[in-house]
């Protein structure tokens, strides 16, 4: 079990759980990152943060701090 | 003669400008911006 933050570029992972609370979590869920969905880590920004992922067929960028809330396998 | 004509024209222009500004103010546009840039939509611009 690890978080999305630790996943290197080019890997596809499956979301198992979202930790944290409040608006950020809801926003992440609203954008389609929910339990069981496959997330492809596309690239990392030039300065190492944020990351760009492909989820449900579109590109999404999120910060590593927020990616830490997403548990994947 | 020329002075009077010019003065009247100028007074008219100033009057119109002030009226326009008061109208804008009343319709809530105020001095915010040109209220045209839908980019911001900040003035709820209606065209």
């Amino acid at each position: 079990m690890s978080t999305l933050k630790e996943i290197p570029c080019g890997k596809t992972v499956k979301v198992t759980k979202l930790t944290g609370e409040g608006p950020v979590r809801r926003r992440i869920m609203d954008m389609g990152i929910t339990k069981g969905v496959e997330v492809f880590v596309r690239k990392v920004a030039p300065l190492g943060d944020p990351v760009e992922v492909t989820v449900r067929g579109y590109e999404l960028s999120l910060r590593k701090a927020d990616a830490e809330m997403i548990q994947v396998e | 003669m020329g002075t009077i004509i010019t003065a009247v024209v100028l007074a008219c222009v100033v009057g119109l400008v002030i009226r326009k500004m008061i109208q804008d103010k009343k319709s809530g546009k105020s001095l915010q911006c040109g209220c045209d840039c839908a980019q911001c939509g900040g003035c709820g611009s209606k065209k």
Partner: protein, 728 residues
């Protein structure tokens, strides 16, 4: 009888394009999620009884962002007769998430699948009739950009509105969830209409804290929530969200067929290079340099010179044909009709000089606006936020803060407005406060004047002005981040990166024109009036005990001199205690363009070019280089013009925050200018006094504020919900 139809959909799905096509209005369309931040209204072309509302783009009807609350309150309270739900066909899965929520509202929904042309081109297939059957609402396909199918869509929406039949709710969640939902629905009071019950039940179950405001009586559903949470081992908010996506996935499988092999789209290829780990920053730097090299130095200067020295100067030549400048023409005309000298003075020295100084700047602005519009429309801005986020976060801002600042380099008003796309309250306030530090278009003439008059046109003055602005933003960010007011939760940064597309020329030109036009309108109204007032104030005064009109060389006796004299001592420690400069700085509050215009009028030259070349000598004689730089810094950083202040007030939506912002800017400007002057004088002339001591104390205090220890909170507090309610 009029019919109200609301356009709802995700950000960047083509809502505004459709709105323009349906109403024929010219709203600018940007390729940046969240361009529409307030609802807009228009009438359907060819049928004036139909009112179309363009709602802000939203991903969900959650209570967490301003746009979402605006949209859903509108949908609940105003109850439009029908909703056209625009769905981006190239990104249908996430778009349907909002659709499932819209259908629950009990308002007839017509789903318009947009960008069908792109979907077809890629070979993907969407089974429309199946989609309609599974979702329980009518579905049609359109291409908003090409205009295909849009009128048909509008007609169907009107028919739906007139039939007043809400979509039968066919989408169902898991049995457990449905059972609880039914139980909650039964608890709802009679004030909720039958067709809206499901929506309210879902929201209550999600523990939505803003929904209570829309209800007369809020039933207690904690028992149901607890039961469901226990049963599903998750919180209700996630359960509902999950259920929606599970449901959507089940539809997608049936209705959507992908072309098969995953090929890289053009957008992907561009993105690979543009946000490449090594190339992204250099490319970004090159883009910025090109924008400024063209709009500020080369083409911009050429255009401004032409406008100022030609159109608003002595004249210019077109293919060898001599065309006289406007002041020459006006003077000739006035002389011809025998106008009195004083009136000619008012028109030429007052109006033409003042308004001309502003209008002369328009061509350069237009060039800059073309670039900004292009960058916005093509989708690069979102990438800039992506690239820059790391840096901006270091000083308490977000990657999205870059957009307001970039736009702010054109004009602070749209810049401040653009800050609305920042969801986090703290980031947004910080961005609003610092955006106007970026030298806006109207501040460029001040820079040009000071550089030309006192530094012999030294190359480094203009870049240093931008540097001062950027340094002010960075330092303010760091200092403010550590204050109590801004201490808070780390900001979320979850942003869609839209696919690139080539903006249409019409779109870019329209945006350029709208922004440019607002500049010109300002010149014709507020600046026109202020130049007239200014002229009167400086042309009349008391001399030798009697009030009357003054000769040019008696300026020191004018009303303006008296007024300026009151403020001048305030600015003496900054090195420019001359009343003329004080007046110039104060008139800058009306519009920054006024600073150069005022200096031009006060130093007695009929009309002043962009860089004020005619008055360089007088200006240089009246103040030292250090004082001039202090004047420049003050004008760059102090409170912006009234228009921008209005924008700040509006965006802060809180009078206390507004005054805090303005006060902070002015105090910072005063302190920095003081330091520049006092320390500058110490270095250049060896002058030492109380002022120098104060300056050093300020520097020490500043460094302390900058480096004092600070612990950034790393955990999210639940209080954010309360904060979100507080700003309402």
């Amino acid at each position: 009888m009029s019919v109200k139809i609301a356009l709802a959909g995700n950000p960047n799905c083509g809502k505004t394009t459709l709105f323009n096509a349906l109403t024929g209005s010219n709203q600018f369309v940007g390729n940046w999620p969240g361009v529409t931040v307030e609802k807009k209204e228009g009438r359907l072309k060819g049928n004036k009884d139909v009112v179309i509302m363009d709602l802000p783009g939203i991903y969900s009807l959650s209570p967490y962002t301003l746009e979402e609350v605006v949209a859903r309150n509108y949908l609940i309270n105003e109850r439009p007769d029908a909703i056209i739900n625009i769905v981006d066909g190239t990104n249908i899965e996430r778009n349907l998430y909002l659709s499932t929520q819209l259908i629950e509202l009990g308002i007839p929904v017509l789903m318009a699948v947009n960008m069908m042309d792109i979907v077809e081109k890629s070979g993907d297939k969407i089974n429309i009739s199946k989609l309609s059957e599974r979702l329980g609402c009518e579905v049609t396909t359109i291409s908003a950009l090409k205009g295909t199918g849009i009128m048909k869509a509008a007609e169907r929406a009107v028919a739906l509105a007139n039939a007043k039949k809400a979509a039968p709710k066919v989408h169902k969640f898991a049995v457990k969830v449905e059972n609880v939902l039914t139980a909650v629905e039964d608890k709802l009071g009679s004030d909720i209409p039958e067709e809206q019950k499901r929506f309210f039940a879902v929201k209550l179950l999600e523990k939505d804290d803003k929904i209570g405001e829309q209800m007369k009586k809020v039933p207690d559903v904690s028992a149901e929530i607890e039961m469901l949470e226990k049963e599903m081992d998750d919180d209700t908010e996630s359960i509902i969200t999950n259920e929606r996506y599970v449901y959507i996935s089940s539809i997608i499988g049936e209705c959507y067929t992908k072309a098969g092999k995953e090929t890289l789209t053009v957008s992907d290829k561009i993105d690979k290079i543009v946000t490449n780990r090594w190339l992204a920053l250099p490319i970004f730097a090159v883009v910025m340099i090109i924008v400024y090299a063209v709009s500020v130095t080369t083409v911009g200067t050429w255009a401004t010179d032409w406008a100022n020295d030609g159109v608003f100067g002595d004249g210019w030549s077109l293919f060898g044909l001599e065309i006289p400048g406007i002041p020459v023409l006006v003077e000739g005309a006035l002389e011809a009709i025998g106008c009195a000298d004083w009136l000619m003075g008012l028109i030429l020295d007052g109006i033409v000089a003042g308004v001309g100084a502003v209008l002369g700047f328009v061509p350069q602005m237009l060039v800059l606006f073309i670039f900004l519009a292009f960058l916005e429309a093509c989708g690069y801005m979102a990438r800039v936020a992506f690239i820059m986020d790391r840096i901006f976060r270091k000083f308490g801002l977000s990657g999205k803060s870059f957009i307001p600042m970039l736009i702010g380099s054109g004009c602070g008003v749209p810049g401040v407005m653009a800050s609305r796309t920042i969801e986090n309250d703290r980031d947004r306030k910080m961005t609003i406060m610092t955006t106007t530090f970026v030298p806006c278009g109207a501040k460029l003439p001040i820079i040009a004047l000071i550089a030309g008059a006192l530094f012999g046109g030294a190359w480094w003055v203009a870049p240093s002005a931008y540097f001062v602005g950027i340094a002010a933003i960075i330092c303010s960010g760091i200092i403010l981040k550590k204050t109590k007011m801004f201490a808070g939760d780390p900001a979320p940064f979850v942003m869609e990166l839209p696919a690139y597309h080539m903006p249409t020329a019409g779109n870019v030109l329209r945006s350029m024109w709208e922004r440019g036009w607002s500049f010109m309108k300002k010149a014709g109204t507020i600046i026109l009036l202020s130049t007239i007032v200014l002229w009167f104030l400086m042309s009349f005064g008391w001399m030798d005990g009697s009030f009357g009109m003054l000769e040019a060389e008696e300026l020191d006796y004018s009303i303006l001199a008296a007024l300026g004299g009151v403020f001048a001592p305030l600015f003496a420690p900054l090195g420019w205690g001359d009343w003329k400069m004080a007046v110039a700085a104060i008139t800058g509050l009306i519009a920054k363009e006024n600073v150069v215009g005022t200096i031009g009028i006060l130093f007695g030259v009929a009309e002043v070019a962009e860089d004020g070349a005619e008055i360089w000598e007088q200006l240089a004689a009246s103040m030292s280089a250090v004082a001039a730089y202090s004047f420049l810094v003050f004008n760059l950083l102090c409170a912006p013009c009234f228009a921008a202040m209005g924008a700040i007030k509006r965006e802060m939506n809180n009078i206390k925050w507004f005054w805090f912002a303005i006060g902070y800017q002015t105090v910072l400007a005063y302190a920095v200018s003081l330091c520049v002057y006092q320390i500058g004088m110490l270095c250049s002339a060896g002058a030492f006094g109380i002022g120098t001591v104060v300056a050093f104390l300020l520097v020490i205090g500043f460094i302390y504020l900058l480096f004092r220890p600070y612990k950034e909170s790393t955990t999210l507090k639940v209080d954010m919900k309360k904060a979100a309610m507080g700003i309402k």
